[in-house]
């Protein structure tokens, strides 16, 4: 009985590892294929998201902002996405999908704070 559960855990881990590799591959391919066929890139994103949901894994940080959360199309800044930094109410990145017009906002206050602390540290060392 105990052995069965251990085996099962092993299986799960193996499966998740494979799923992670698949997501990585699919997004890489989407990036490669994008200049030639956008629909194919979107299809890869679709499969990658399906795999990610089925295997219950996190999407790699690298690819998290590379697709539209609404229409699920692959985004390339400057081609079909607009990326701007706004700092007024609070510092955030605004990504607009030019395919469907959906707007996504991501805060970067934490990064900013980290940088501030770092520069202060360095300043301290120099002084």
């Amino acid at each position: 009985m105990g052995r069965k559960w251990i085996l099962r855990g092993k299986e799960q881990r193996e499966k998740k590892r494979i799923a992670r590799e698949r997501v990585e591959t699919l997004f890489t391919m989407a990036e490669r294929v994008f200049p030639y066929s956008r629909e194919l890139a979107n299809r890869y994103v679709e499969i990658a998201l399906a795999v990610q949901q089925k295997a219950k894994i996190r999407l790699p940080k690298k690819w998290k902002r590379r697709y539209c959360k609404k229409c699920h199309s692959f985004l390339v800044p400057g081609v079909n996405a607009r990326v701007r930094l706004r700092s007024k109410p609070y510092p955030h990145v605004v990504i607009k999908c030019l395919e469907c017009g959906h707007i996504m906002r991501y805060p970067y206050l934490r990064e900013k704070k980290a940088r501030r602390a770092k520069t202060q540290d360095q300043g301290g060392v120099e002084a």
């Binding site: 494979i18 590799e21 391919m29 030639y36 066929s37 629909e39 194919l40 399906a50 089925k54």
Partner: protein, 126 residues
């Protein structure tokens, strides 16, 4: 569906009946794009898209010898791109995949039937 060989594109008006034509003949896009560690054991659950594939055996003689990169996958078909795009049914063929490491894996297409995300859920080794 008819195919205009001279123009190399579909004659059907309106919608494209042969999708992904823009990728045909540009197989170099896929070179080295596959990031997974595919082995003989885990290929059934792994990603086929981006792998090099060659049809070894098929019930239909014209399918034999098709070679290229796997472009798309549905429940029962593989789309393979070489100098043109083929759609090959899975359950009647035997495919030889070549991994990024250069290993060649022969798989009976019957064991690959299933949607790409559903194959992950397939029965793990008994």
């Amino acid at each position: 569906m008819r195919w205009n060989r001279e123009k190399g594109k579909d004659r059907a008006p309106g919608r494209s009946q042969r999708p992904y034509q823009t990728v045909a003949g540009r197989t170099w896009i896929f070179r080295g794009a596959h990031r997974g560690r595919v082995t003989r054991k885990n290929i059934i659950w792994h990603e086929l898209i981006g792998l090099k594939a060659k049809i070894i055996r098929a019930s239909h003689p014209e399918l034999v010898g098709i070679e290229g990169y796997v472009l798309d996958e549905t429940r029962n078909t593989l789309t393979i791109v070489g100098d043109r795009v083929w759609t090959v049914p899975k359950d009647v063929v035997e495919v030889e995949f070549e991994t990024a490491a250069g290993e060649k894996i022969r798989v009976d297409g019957k064991s690959l039937v299933g949607r790409p995300e559903m194959r992950l859920k397939k029965r793990w080794r008994k």
